[in-house]
């Protein structure tokens, strides 16, 4: 039972201002969780804006250094990875961003990103190898290199572009994917196919996915476990369906009650005070 990634009491404090009026903002306060190496799962991180979920994501990616605690990825402290080992770490932990239209440079062709990832992190040494790796990754998401080669981001719809973003993350054969609000900018008719794709990647490729979202309904639908964050702290955690069916913490209950669904009525949303 080895951990793929383990967060041990990690926290992050930002300081703002100069010598005078110095303010400290505690974005993440002592979070613990761990994902098992041999048990791929979709782990949802739920919280409102400002709850520290994106700061947590940046720490997992090694962009921010934790101010306290340790983040262990496959037995290695993420913070202490030497410069030489950085690329190997990045190959194993890959991000997917919220807005596919902002994630890609509109003036660059899409296959450029796939080739770059293949040569930098995927170990491809020739053009042919990079193309083969790109094509393989694109096929995992239901596309192929023939469809993508030479095309610019504006030629694809949001859903297709997000698939390309996921394929790009898969090129380096990662163990962990960090998806920050990956479906909130995708059209409603295509959203569920992206969400289903995550489930498919978990089942077929054995990938673990950290799914950051504020959408409780998709978290319920796809994730195995979840943590609910508020003001940098975890207020509730556990198996996704159990927690969302019967939330215990007042904040989780409030979140649960705010989910709008076709069965909700007008009266339930009218403020009472």
């Amino acid at each position: 039972m080895t951990a793929l990634i383990e967060a041990k009491n990690i926290s992050k404090t930002f300081s703002r201002g100069g010598v005078f009026a110095r303010r400290r903002i505690e974005a993440v306060k002592g979070i613990n969780f761990s994902l098992e190496e041999d048990k791929p799962e979709i782990f949802a991180v739920i919280g409102e804006s400002g709850s520290g979920k994106s700061t947590l994501a940046r720490m997992i990616l090694g962009i921010h250094k934790p101010s306290g605690g340790q983040l262990i990825f496959q037995g290695q402290d993420v913070d202490k990875i030497p410069r030489a080992g950085r690329a190997a770490f990045m190959a194993r932990v890959q991000p997917i961003f919220q807005n596919p239209f902002e994630a890609f440079n509109p003036l660059k062709k899409l296959d450029f990103y796939l080739t770059m990832t293949a040569t930098r992190f995927g170990g491809a040494t020739s053009r042919a190898e990079a193309d083969a790796a790109s094509d393989q990754a694109l096929r995992q998401v239901g596309l192929s290199l023939d469809e993508i080669k030479g095309r610019f981001p504006h030629e694809l719809s949001g859903g297709q572009l997000q698939r390309v973003a996921i394929a790009r993350a898969l090129v380096s054969k990662p163990r962990l994917i960090l998806a920050d609000e990956p479906v909130s900018m995708v059209d409603a008719s295509l959203r569920m196919s992206i969400v289903n794709l995550f489930g498919d990647l978990r089942d077929r490729l054995g990938l673990s996915i950290i799914y950051i979202t504020h959408d409780l309904a998709t978290a319920y639908y796809i994730s195995d476990r979840l943590i609910i964050m508020r003001h940098g702290e975890v207020v509730e955690q556990g198996p996704a369906r159990e927690v969302l069916s019967n939330p215990q913490h007042p904040y989780s209950q409030q979140l649960r009650a705010a989910v709008l669904s076709p069965s909700a009525t007008l009266e339930t949303i009218t403020p009472t005070h």
């Binding site: 409102e48 804006s49 694809l156 719809s157 949001g158 859903g159 297709q160 059209d187 409603a188 008719s189 295509l190 959203r191 569920m192 196919s193 992206i194 969400v195 289903n196 504020h214 409780l216 309904a217 998709t218 319920y220 639908y221 369906r241 969302l244 069916s245 409030q254 979140l255 649960r256 009650a257 705010a258 989910v259 709008l260 669904s261 076709p262 069965s263 909700a264 009525t265 007008l266 339930t268 949303i269 009218t270 403020p271």
Partner: protein
């Protein structure tokens, strides 16, 4: 007068026309749309990005700027009785009804408030010319109105960046409703907000609408919001209205395959059945597919769908949909 709808949209067409490198291009963003909005109701407009929702409400509000062009049809407001459509009314008449009768809650409250002016100054800029009266009386009106939206009067001396997203959105709602307009257009007002704040803001729009008896044209792609808030629902796909009816009826028995997909693909807490996305992608409006625009993605597509544009037909009281499968007798 009371039986007359407050807004009647008939065969409205607005296209983007432009010439790029000598090639003229026409994007039919609003194509032959008709519906009525009655007094004291919330009319919801659903559809995904690039389905023409925002272009439609801009056209209805008379905010037509090149390259957008009005091609045909009309949008008549009951408070502009002399003009058959808002686009033919005198500019002075349109300016007079803005804010007073027709107001607009804009998308992205972060961007619509002037960051260099205090909220109070923004209120004076927008509402004072319409409300008139002394500065003291105006101040009192504004304060009373803010309290209705559970905002502290101290926000008037704050700059936009000092307020949270939810508060800013409430300020824009307060701005749009201060003159007690008869018709409010709301363009995705809650999309950028967190679920708890969203619920709060929706409840507020609902209660203030009920209190003032106004009509609201509420645009969002979130079907959950439509189910909770709106009285009537129109669903747009690729620049056309594909289904319209009472929200309750549309959710209970959606007739157009696209509406059915939107409703059935919504994940719900407590329901673990498999949901799926639609195959294909939304069409390019510069070159829409012939016949029914939905046919390349439609599970029920027949031969006729590929060539003939389906007409809007009645499928129930006040419930219309445009699909060949309905007229063929199937569903």
């Amino acid at each position: 007068m009371s039986s007359q709808p407050i807004l009647r949209v008939e065969n409205l067409k607005a296209h983007f026309r432009g010439t790029y490198f000598g090639v003229s291009r026409e994007v039919r963003a609003v194509d032959d749309i008709s519906f009525d909005v009655e007094r004291n109701e919330i009319f919801g407009l659903a559809g995904e990005s690039s389905s023409g929702k925002t272009t439609l409400i801009k056209t209805i509000a008379g905010l037509i700027r090149p390259p957008l062009e009005l091609v045909g049809g009309r949008a008549q407001f009951a408070f502009l009785p002399d003009a058959p459509t808002i686009h033919q009314a005198a500019p002075a008449a349109v300016a007079a009804i803005r804010w007073r009768h027709l107001s607009y809650i804009m998308q992205g409250s972060m961007n619509v408030l002037n960051p260099l002016r205090r909220i109070g100054a923004t209120f004076r800029d927008f509402a004072l010319p319409h409300l008139g009266g002394s500065a003291g009386a105006f101040e009192a009106t504004v304060t009373a109105h803010l309290e209705r939206l559970r905002l502290d009067p101290s926000v008037l001396s704050a700059y936009p960046h000092e307020l949270s997203g939810g508060m800013r959105q409430r300020v824009t709602i307060a701005l749009a409703t201060i003159c007690k307009p008869e018709f409010i257009i709301a363009d995705e007002p809650t999309t950028a907000l967190d679920v708890i704040v969203q619920k709060d803001v929706l409840g507020m729009i609902r209660s203030i609408q009920r209190e003032m008896g106004s009509s609201v044209l509420f645009v969002t792609h979130d079907m959950g919001v439509h189910a909770t808030l709106t009285d009537k629902l129109g669903v747009m796909y690729a620049g056309r209205l594909v289904e319209v009816g009472a929200t309750r009826d549309v959710f209970a028995a959606p007739r157009h395959p696209y509406t059915r997909h939107l409703i059935h693909s919504l994940p719900r807490i407590g329901d673990v059945t498999q949901r799926s996305g639609l195959p294909g992608t939304p069409p390019n409006l510069a070159n829409p597919p012939p016949g029914c625009r939905f046919h390349p993605r439609c599970p029920l597509a027949m031969d006729i769908c590929r060539t003939v544009q389906p007409a809007m037909i009645d499928v129930g009281p006040g419930h219309r949909a445009s699909c060949h499968a309905i007229s063929e007798g199937g569903s």
